[in-house]
């Protein structure tokens, strides 16, 4: 049993004594050794700590103690999560000069407490300002379904490692789509929880008012178990505002849902086959009439502006002192953010309030919204131009056109792998009301059981 297995199967095998955490780890490390050269998903493999954690799980099993719901499950994290003893790179060259982290990020510690085994840190776009998974310092993480294509970003290594079956579970972050884009491109499930649900303590930020953390996996049950293990507030993140966390893994039996497919802005901007895949998912969930939201263009523009200005504010001092050490495109976008007039930030915040109010009215009569995750499948690494609305445009700013308006108001989203187009995976967003991750997960589970949401086997192995 290796990283190619599912998390819940590994945990069940370890708990029952059919497998040991130490054995699962050995197989997983061998898989990483064999295949990471092709994927470039990992930037650090933490074998020593993993062996200690696996041994601790096996000791608990031997002593008849409960080793936790993720017993012996190997996982890895985007390298903006603190791992004790490792430098938190956040995809950058600049952070290489930082001291190693003195403690694990809160979510890492919670997964380990649940029995999971941390095997390393994963490649990502520099400072998370990225939709591609490319990185000039580390090289690009590669798509397991075609090594010449983007993994998606910025949690590119997370998508690559899970889609490539190096690990069953990874953590990513999502500001404008950075869990959902690589989940779509790499053909896996990804959960971006409600803004404020999971604490970000011990992670390197990007845009404080938009940053989310969440799990990526190859089964819905794995997402749910990991999500449950990470629930709860933490004093280190004042944004985390989950007054009554309720585990979801045991209550995902889907009941009747009022579902609508988002139209308008969310249809027709990318490949027609993407819309067809989204429609199939919507029909399978019994979607009613399409819903056209107003103000989506403004919402997406506002997400861009807030990201640009908050990101620039975060990096101002580094831009003064280390400008030449940034990836040029990230640096230039952040520099532009220092120059955007503040009046646009104020307007963008007003748009956020108004857009959230509109969605609150929608969710009074609807349980779930369905929309494409990306306008196309994974482009080639290095590709600069793409097609949106039939016109050739700069590719990179447009990869997240379908994800940005949703994370902008913090709604929980599960991306499901909704089939393949010309042998490449494509994902669909299942969007739930605030704090109702259980609804999106339940719908995803229904699709998974019906065979409509299945991670494709990676072509590179």
């Amino acid at each position: 049993m290796t990283g190619a297995g599912s998390a819940h199967e590994i945990a069940a095998a370890v708990k029952s004594g059919k497998a040991t955490a130490t054995g699962v780890l050995a197989d997983t490390l061998a898989g990483i050794e064999a295949h990471n050269g092709a994927l470039n998903a990992f930037t650090a493999v933490t074998a020593a700590r993993a062996r200690a954690e696996a041994a601790a799980v096996d000791a608990k099993v031997a002593a008849g103690e409960d080793p936790g719901p993720l017993a012996g499950v190997p996982f890895a994290v985007k390298n903006l999560f603190d791992l004790s003893g490792e430098i938190t790179l956040a995809g950058s060259k600049i952070n290489r000069d930082d001291p190693p982290a003195s403690a694990d990020a809160t979510l890492v510690a919670r997964l380990v407490a649940a029995g999971a085994v941390c095997v390393g840190a994963l490649n990502m776009g520099e400072y998370a300002y990225d939709f591609t998974g490319e990185n000039v310092h580390e090289g690009p993480s590669r798509n397991p379904h075609d090594l010449s294509r983007m993994s998606g970003g910025s949690s590119g290594g997370s998508g690559s490692a899970v889609g490539g079956r190096l690990v069953p579970l990874a953590l990513g972050s999502d500001t404008n789509g950075s869990i959902r884009v690589p989940s779509s491109f790499c053909g896996i499930f990804g959960l971006k929880p409600t803004y404020g649900r999971l604490p970000r303590t011990g992670t390197f930020p990007f845009v404080d008012s938009l940053d989310h953390l969440g799990p990526m996996a190859r089964s819905v049950q794995d997402l749910a178990i990991a999500f449950d293990a990470m629930l709860g507030t933490d004093p280190g993140d004042p944004v985390c505002n989950d007054p009554a966390p309720v585990p979801v893994a045991d209550r995902l039996e889907p009941g009747p849902l009022r579902v609508r497919r988002l139209g308008g802005f969310f249809r027709g901007q990318g490949d027609a086959a993407v819309d067809a895949a989204t429609d199939r998912i919507a029909v399978a969930l019994g979607a009613g009439d399409p819903l056209e939201l107003s103000g989506v263009t403004e919402a997406r523009a506002s997400a861009f502006i807030i990201s640009n200005i908050e990101g620039a504010a975060l990096h101002e001092e580094r831009l003064r002192t280390r400008a030449d050490d940034y990836e040029p495109m990230v640096r230039d976008r952040l520099l532009a953010g220092t120059l955007l007039p503040g009046i646009h930030y104020v307007r963008a915040q007003r748009v956020r309030r108004a857009f959230a109010a509109q969605l609150a009215e929608v969710f009074a009569e609807t349980d779930l919204l369905v929309a494409p995750a990306t306008p196309f499948t994974a482009p080639a690494i290095g590709q600069q131009i793409g097609t949106i609305n039939g016109e050739e445009v700069l590719l990179r700013p447009n990869i997240g056109i379908y994800t940005q308006p949703i994370s902008f108001i913090g709604l929980p989203v599960v991306v499901v792998p909704a089939g393949v187009i010309d042998d490449m995976p494509i994902g669909v967003q299942l969007i739930a009301p605030p704090w109702r991750e259980d609804i999106a997960l339940a719908a995803a589970l229904r699709l998974e059981r019906e065979g409509l949401a299945t991670p494709p086997a990676p072509a590179f192995r």
Partner: protein
């Protein structure tokens, strides 16, 4: 016709952009290397173009902050 301003040349545009960026650099204190100015300006134009997509609408009555 005598008061028609001379046509703007590419050199004029480059000079104006450099001047704008130099002023911005002085105001923000964040240095922008001369060779990066065109790229930064391009990203700034992208941001300003998106900002113009936020026209009048119901959002104008929405609060910036609500406790």
């Amino acid at each position: 016709m005598g008061d028609t301003p001379p046509a703007t040349t590419a050199d004029d545009t480059t000079r104006a952009a450099n001047e704008l960026m130099a002023n911005a650099e002085a105001l923000t204190g964040v240095p922008v290397a001369a060779e990066n100015r065109a790229a930064v300006l391009s990203h700034l134009v992208t941001g300003l173009t998106l900002a113009r997509q936020i026209g009048p609408g119901s959002h104008e009555a929405a609060p910036v902050y609500r406790p």
